[in-house]
């Protein structure tokens, strides 16, 4: 066996999965063709709130190629309710969530009927021939209005208030009473921020194929969570979990948007069971935007107490979080994930977080890259700037005087978490240097003095986040319905090749490459000899899947533990083979040797010996495979300093990012290229929230941004060259020292951009601008006029055509 010369961990390897992805060689779910396969198309409600008084399918049923047309009535007895795994409080209100609406629709885009036909074309044609009678109900869109309970989304619940969840540092014994801090404060700042609704906008639309044969159901789905999906589908349908196999083949992105048990997955399964034939459903882009869950959508009222010298003392957070019409898998818990992060890297004495979840007639919200933590980071980083302005202090200085010092780690925060490690000073120093902070401040002063048309602003975001979801006991304390461990197996094959099985479910992140790098180093086998298997419940029988920047910190650790188990057994066998004491066996570069001798056995030889089992030590089982499951006892806490310089054209309101520096500390880096990729993509999404993206509805509750002509996802041409660097302060909560990087860029960047734009125009009398900071919004703020809303300027093109529901 060849020794690996230089360590794999730390190497900027190209991703081994990319060739098949970018050449189109892989098979996505929609590429699957099974004999006798039927196609499902979904009729969606064009109205946001109505009673269904009649559905006539007779015309549609008679159309060419149509096998059957099914309505909510057909499934009422068997569809159950889509699962919500996170009942955040004992008294949380949770309406039944049918996959197919039976007698009432609660958001525009909700599934109302299905056509099952011999082709996707015939299925789509027949949709137009289904007649549904709707009796309009009052539409509830605004959260504050919803809380008045004048009109109810779910009359049976008697209220639109879903739940209120509170963390109070005084009650938890983690800090003082925030009201006392506010009462005693020299400065109190109160602000309200709006986190607009966002659409995850993954590249591959959702797609499901279900095959039923011989009592066994195989479900292919473009999902992030094959294991959770299997469990939940079994729970909802009563199909034995052992008769369900879920496969997530290559999946084209998720960003939390595929962390879901969708109505369509359940419906495909029910239809396949009913018809005894394979069924496929693939959504269109517009369908995806209408019906897949959305993200964010909060109103944040923040009160910050401080002393005149800049020391922060108290933080009170009052949130309204829009659930939409139903509670999907983790809908109610997403804002709660932010509860522990509003205090961020700062040392507040008192803290209180209170979140009220509200029902509206919109598509449900749920996880979207960062899930709860971007919202928290935005609010606190905006507030630190507001405090700096109020006190006339330099915004970086005020952060520095309040953050946890390097020598204070481990540090237990006012929210009750223990940050294991961090070095905010080092990341900030590096960022300031890369950015050229002082020069830019000078340039800014010059433009202000000149009254330049194009003003310059500087925005800061010194963030942290919690990753590595999650210690199972913490999830239990938060009433989450599952654990947060992860599992890995290593199969040592007789030819010396290695199969790695992971319970994580990559959907674009590059786990195959990174997991191979880790195992190559650990076992001294060549990178190329390692195959990573994932996303199939038949090969990877258990796992908690991928989200929350957990895969490396939790799943990678399980992998290291499995490799160590392989090595431990191999060491025992090697000692037996070399006829020496186990204590004298050394392992390096894939070979065992006896200390002080030239006797050597390559790992491959030991593995073969274990496999043939001709001569094993007393009591040793044949084979050299190992499984390991890791349950972390703490989260990991990436942090960093992001600096953004923007130019604001005061005549048009156009914002341009002219420099962006991101110095992140994500702990030990296995593959710097992949980490850079995650940071770049994350930045793009965070910047998009600040400047471009927003899901908007008209007053009837129709989504008015249901195409990419209206929902503005930026591309490379819209973004600056990112200057990225890292500091490395390893996590102490896992042996890799990794913290997670999947969400850092998204979490950090939004406030950096918004702070920067406000910094550019604050001297012109502007105090705040809502996101996304469109040119019209910026210009209107500069005129001192009220916010014009998002939809006033049609994007033109397709945007001039109303994208009503994606169907006529």
């Amino acid at each position: 066996m060849t020794a690996t010369a230089e360590p794999e961990v730390g190497k900027a390897r190209l991703r081994k999965e990319d060739a098949r992805l970018i050449t189109g060689e892989t098979r996505w779910t929609d590429n699957l063709q099974l004999t006798g396969m039927l196609h499902m198309a979904v009729l969606r409600s064009p109205v946001a709130h109505a009673r269904i008084t009649g559905v006539d399918v007779s015309r549609a049923t008679a159309m060419p190629g149509v096998a059957v047309v099914l309505t909510g009535e057909d499934f009422a007895a068997e569809q159950g309710s889509l699962p919500c795994a996170w009942p955040i409080t004992e008294d949380m209100k949770s309406p039944p969530a049918p996959a197919l609406a039976v007698d009432q629709v609660n958001f525009a885009g909700e599934a109302v009927a299905l056509v099952i036909a011999d082709s996707a074309y015939h299925a789509a044609d027949a949709l137009e021939a289904i007649d549904v009678d709707y009796e309009d109900l009052p539409v509830v869109l605004d959260m504050e209005e919803a809380l008045r309970d004048n009109d109810l989304v779910h009359p049976d619940l008697g209220t639109n208030r879903c739940a209120t969840w509170i963390f109070d540092s005084a009650e938890a014994g983690a800090g003082t009473n925030v009201e006392d801090e506010i009462a005693a404060a020299e400065v109190v700042i109160e602000r309200t921020f709006r986190q607009q609704r966002l659409i995850p906008a993954f590249m591959e639309p959702r797609s499901v194929v279900v095959d039923s044969s011989a009592g066994m159901f195989t479900v292919w789905s473009a999902t992030q969570i094959p294991h959770i999906l299997r469990w939940m589908l079994s729970a909802v349908t009563g199909i034995s979990e052992s008769k369900l196999r879920v496969i997530a083949p290559d999946v084209g992105g998720g960003f939390g948007g595929k962390l879901q048990v969708t109505p369509e997955e359940l419906l495909c399964l029910l239809v396949a069971r009913r018809m005894g034939r394979p069924v496929k459903w693939t959504e269109t882009r517009t369908e995806s935007m209408l019906a897949a869950h959305h993200g964010r959508d909060q109103v944040q009222k923040i009160t910050l107490a401080a002393r005149r010298d800049g020391t922060v003392t108290g933080l009170k957070v009052e949130l309204l979080a829009d659930m939409g019409a139903y509670l999907r898998l983790v809908t109610p818990g997403v804002p709660i994930l932010g509860a522990f992060m509003f205090n961020s890297i700062y040392k507040f004495a008192g803290y209180r977080f209170e979140c009220t979840n509200v029902f509206t007639n919109k598509v449900p919200t749920d996880a979207y890259r960062g899930a709860g933590r971007p919202e928290a980071t935005f609010a606190i980083e905006r507030m630190m700037d507001e405090l700096a302005v109020e006190l006339g202090m330099e915004p970086m200085k005020i952060r520095e005087m309040n953050w946890i010092k390097h020598e204070e780690f481990p540090f237990t925060t006012v929210a009750g978490l223990t940050y294991d490690s961090g070095n905010y000073e080092a990341a900030t120093a590096r960022a300031m240097e890369l950015f050229g902070y002082d020069d830019l401040r000078e340039e800014q002063a010059r433009r202000r003095a000149d009254g330049s048309v194009v003003q310059l602003g500087i925005g800061i975001s010194t963030y942290t986040e919690m990753c590595g979801l999650a210690p199972s006991r913490v999830l239990g304390a938060l009433r989450y319905g599952a654990g947060g461990w992860e599992t890995a197996s290593i199969r040592m094959l007789p030819t010396g090749k290695v199969e790695v099985i992971t319970g994580t479910s990559p959907h674009g992140q590059g786990h195959e490459t990174v997991w191979s790098q880790i195992v190559a180093d650990r076992l001294g086998v060549p990178f190329e000899d390692i195959e990573v298997l994932h996303g199939d419940t038949a090969t990877s029988h258990k796992g908690m899947d991928s989200y929350g920047s957990r895969s490396l910190a939790v799943g990678g650790t399980a992998l290291v533990q499995a490799a160590d188990k392989v090595l431990a057994k191999a060491r025992t066998l090697a000692a037996h083979m070399m006829e020496c004491d186990e204590a004298d066996v050394e392992f390096a570069s894939g070979s065992f040797s006896v200390r002080g001798t030239s006797t050597v056995r390559a790992l491959g030889d030991v593995v073969l010996a274990a496999h043939v089992a001709h001569d094993l030590p007393e009591g040793m089982e044949p084979g050299m495979d190992a499984d390991a499951t890791f349950d972390p006892d703490n989260f990991s806490y990436p942090h960093g300093t992001h600096l953004c310089a923007t130019e604001v054209d005061t005549e048009t309101g156009m914002v341009k990012i002219v420099r962006y520096v991101a110095v992140d500390d994500v702990g030990t880096v296995v593959n710097p290229l992949i980490v850079d990729g995650q940071v770049h993509g994350g930045l793009a999404q965070g910047i998009a929230q600040a400047l471009y993206e927003e899901a908007t509805h008209d007053e009837m509750g129709t989504l008015t941004t249901a195409t990419f002509a209206d929902y503005l996802v930026p591309c490379a041409a819209d973004l600056p060259a990112f200057l990225t660097d890292r500091t490395t302060t390893p996590a102490t909560s896992n042996p890799l020292g990794a913290k997670g990087v999947g969400e850092a860029g998204t979490i950090a960047s939004t406030p950096a951009v918004v702070n920067s734009v406000l910094d550019a125009v604050r001297h012109l009398g502007v105090r705040d601008i809502e996101m996304p900071m469109s040119p019209e919004r910026v210009w209107t703020a500069l005129q001192g006029r009220p916010d014009p809303g998002a939809g006033d300027v049609a994007a033109g093109g397709l945007g001039s055509i109303d994208a009503q529901g994606g169907q006529s």
């Binding site: 591309c715 397709l798 055509i801």
Partner: protein
């Protein structure tokens, strides 16, 4: 894409295409580059019964010199417009506008004529066609006719083309030696203009001899800023004259009115050079 069913026809001459259009009736549609029509089909916003693909009519492709004017074939792609020497020399504004349209993939398929026929008020080529006094040469069952740009653009997504007519060529007078600029404000690279201004200016001896200004996406079709044009003529080509004239691009106080004025000023400044 899962559009409604349609019949697909591929004529090889203009006459054949015109005949097919007539035979297939009102619900037939011409398809050129498909970059606007295909999205409409995929969303089932329209369900034409037949598509007549004019991609095989090679005589509709390319740019010809016709004395005082250029003849631009309707099927000339954006990509070809960007690289054509005649357009560069005699109608620079069209090249500069086309440079800002969509992305390279779309510019390789989308056509000059298709953009004009689609008549999206946010489409970029309408305003320069109007400002440059382009004339549409149209074929129909009763022969050929010519329609000036000012009569061609009727309303949102509506032109003077009858359902059985095809745009063949666009005649554009030569603007040899004119300065030109397109000032476009859009939010992301491939979003349409919020407002954009197309300007062409002829300066002789430091004095503005003639000006053409067209506005994109300020109404139901392209708008020609005639007041700005006439205010400029005879003035010295200076910042002061431009800013005074640009102020006439609009009288309102809304965001788009503001953009019309600001972008007109910037377009003229750049066009004067």
């Amino acid at each position: 894409m899962i559009p409604a069913e349609f019949k697909y026809l591929f004529p090889s001459t203009v006459d054949e295409a015109v005949r097919m259009l007539a035979e297939e009736g009102e619900d037939a549609k011409v398809i050129a580059g498909g970059q606007s029509l295909v999205p409409v089909l995929r969303m089932r916003l329209a369900a034409p019964t037949a598509l007549i693909d004019i991609g095989g009519l090679t005589e509709l492709t390319g740019v010809r010199d016709d004395g005082d004017s250029l003849l631009i074939g309707a099927m000339t792609t954006h990509y070809e417009v960007q690289r054509d020497h005649l357009i560069h020399d005699h109608a620079l504004l069209l090249k500069l506008v086309t440079d800002t349209v969509a992305d390279p993939q779309i510019r390789h398929r989308g056509t000059f004529g298709g953009s004009l026929c689609h008549a999206d008020p946010a489409g970029d080529l309408l305003a320069p066609a109007l400002a440059l006094d382009a004339v549409m040469i149209i074929a129909g069952p009763s022969g050929r006719r010519e329609v000036s740009a000012s009569e061609f653009f009727v309303d949102y997504f509506t032109t003077a083309l009858a359902p059985d007519e095809i745009l063949l060529d666009v005649r554009v007078p030569k603007y040899t030696g004119w300065g030109a600029h397109y000032e476009k404000l859009n939010r992301v690279a491939q979003a349409w203009s919020i407002v954009a201004v197309a300007a062409a200016v002829r300066v002789s001896d430091g004095v503005i001899a003639a000006a053409r200004v067209g506005l994109t996406n300020v109404g139901s079709g392209p708008v020609r800023a005639v007041e700005v044009e006439s205010a400029l003529v005879g003035l010295p080509a200076t910042a002061e004259s431009i800013s005074a004239a640009a102020g006439r691009a609009s009288t309102g106080d809304g965001y788009k009115d503001n953009l019309a004025r600001v972008l007109t000023g910037r377009a003229l400044t750049a066009a004067v050079g």
